[in-house]
């Protein structure tokens, strides 16, 4: 019996293949009719800081609190703290696209190899922390929609985004049969989405809703 997840993966691969038939190119700077094509992004180039109400489910354990994203000198620091102020984790997405995401702190409760790995992958994806190389390619799809694929070190991340703004609506990193990470974002302000949802292997879920300080 084929699982729903596997069917979903096949459909996604099929759709990606169809999208590839739209109009593929390795380096797109302009779409049809010289419309400017932006690079995909969740957080805009002038983004400085964002605060989200965060709900996270980790292997059935529910954690909640605030998640702060702050950009400084090109790097992004992310801290997740409980309502009481207890810090769950504090990580850094480096300015250098080839440097790995690093944890400065991780609460013992979450300090497990698969959790660390999945969190690193998801925050890498969230900030599109991939080096530009010839394996990356973009597809101009219907109307204003684009798809861009990043490939690096065996990972393949696929982003669906708006052509002129670069605002990502969904992203996924797929394995051979089942997706590792899936993200959705929407309701963009000028520099970041008001809502972000991240699913990691059905083991971890992160739900972010922006709040005013």
């Amino acid at each position: 019996m084929i699982s729903a997840g596997r069917i979903y993966a096949y459909v996604f691969i099929l759709l990606t293949g169809l999208l590839a038939g739209c109009s593929g190119t390795h380096k797109m700077t302009a779409g049809a009719d010289n419309i400017k094509v932006a690079q995909p992004r969740f957080f805009g180039p002038d983004f400085k800081k964002a605060l989200y109400k965060a709900d996270m489910t980790v292997y059935g354990h529910e954690l909640s609190g605030l998640m702060l994203f702050k950009k400084s000198r090109g790097l992004v620091r992310v801290a997740f703290i409980s309502e009481f102020g207890l810090k769950y984790f504090d990580l850094e997405v480096p300015a250098n696209d080839t440097a790995a995401v690093t944890f400065h702190y991780l609460i013992d409760l979450m300090n497990r190899k698969p959790i660390v790995k999945m969190l690193k992958i998801s925050f890498r994806m969230l900030f599109l922390h991939y080096p530009e190389n010839e394996k990356n390619h973009a597809f101009n799809c219907h109307d204003e929609w684009m798809v861009k694929v990043f490939k690096d070190e065996g990972e393949k991340a696929i982003y669906s985004y708006v052509q002129n703004s670069g605002q990502v609506s969904s992203a996924r990193q797929s394995g051979l049969c089942k997706p590792k990470v899936r993200m959705e974002a929407g309701d963009y302000t000028a520099q970041y989405p008001s809502g972000i949802q991240i699913w990691l292997k059905k083991k971890i879920k992160i739900d972010l809703v922006s709040v005013e300080e």
Partner: protein, 224 residues
């Protein structure tokens, strides 16, 4: 920290370790800025104990400042705190998010923006320890607590009890807890939870009232 011992964590661990040692040595060797050691510790202990014994309820507004030193950020939350003996506690956060947590004995209930969850503190040891620390700090009844070593200081306004955890489980969470007691009535006015690495949470109580009647239904969690 079993799985973060690779390159990316090594330097940080050393830095945190050195900083932790420096912090604990400095705390042990000298009084916090603006404070001096208390000459008569017994007087303060008696005052705190008396205040704790005679306090049956507390209502207060609070401002919680989370200082993230490496990010150069302070996150400010506000809300209302209720306490009723023996172990009924309610934290009602109103800004920047709506969130309430109610502790009734060994059971705690959370209202997370309308989503209500109930837990047993025994099922969440970490939360239990945190709750015990907070309640202990608010009530000021840490005299017989063997989980902490205490030192006492004062300035013109406050007596300061600096508590250092002695058991491993608490050491993993906090470096120390500072409880600030008003010199006039030994009531708790501020609590500071200091983490390794220098981050800390400061809770300041405002418009604090004691021993007023709090109906039991205040400790029930309902949809907003």
């Amino acid at each position: 920290m079993n799985y973060l011992t690779s390159k990316d964590m090594k330097k940080n661990k050393i830095a945190v370790f050195v900083f932790g040692i420096a912090l604990s040595l400095s705390g042990w060797a000298q009084a916090p800025d603006g404070f001096s050691p208390v000459p008569n510790v017994a007087f303060i202990k008696n005052g705190i104990q008396r205040s704790s014994d005679t306090t049956v309820s507390i209502t207060s507004n609070f401002v919680q400042e989370k200082h993230l030193t490496m990010m150069d950020e302070v996150l400010i939350s506000r809300g209302k705190f209720l306490f009723k003996k023996e172990n009924h506690v309610k934290w009602q956060y109103t800004s920047p998010i709506h969130y309430a947590i109610v502790i009734n004995g060994d059971e705690f209930t959370i209202n997370n923006d309308g989503k209500i969850s109930r837990f047993d503190t025994e099922s969440n040891k970490l939360f239990k320890e945190i709750n015990n620390m907070i309640v202990m700090a608010i009530r000021g009844d840490f005299m017989d607590n063997n989980n902490f070593s205490s030192a006492f200081y004062e300035n013109n306004t406050y007596y300061l009890a600096a508590l250092t955890p002695d058991i491993e489980q608490l050491k993993n969470i906090l470096v120390s807890i500072e409880i600030y007691f008003d010199k006039k009535d030994f009531g708790v006015r501020q609590v500071r939870f200091i983490e390794s690495g220098g981050d800390f949470t400061l809770i300041v109580f405002k418009n604090r009232k004691t021993n007023i009647k709090i109906p039991d239904n205040q400790f029930k969690v309902e949809h907003d």
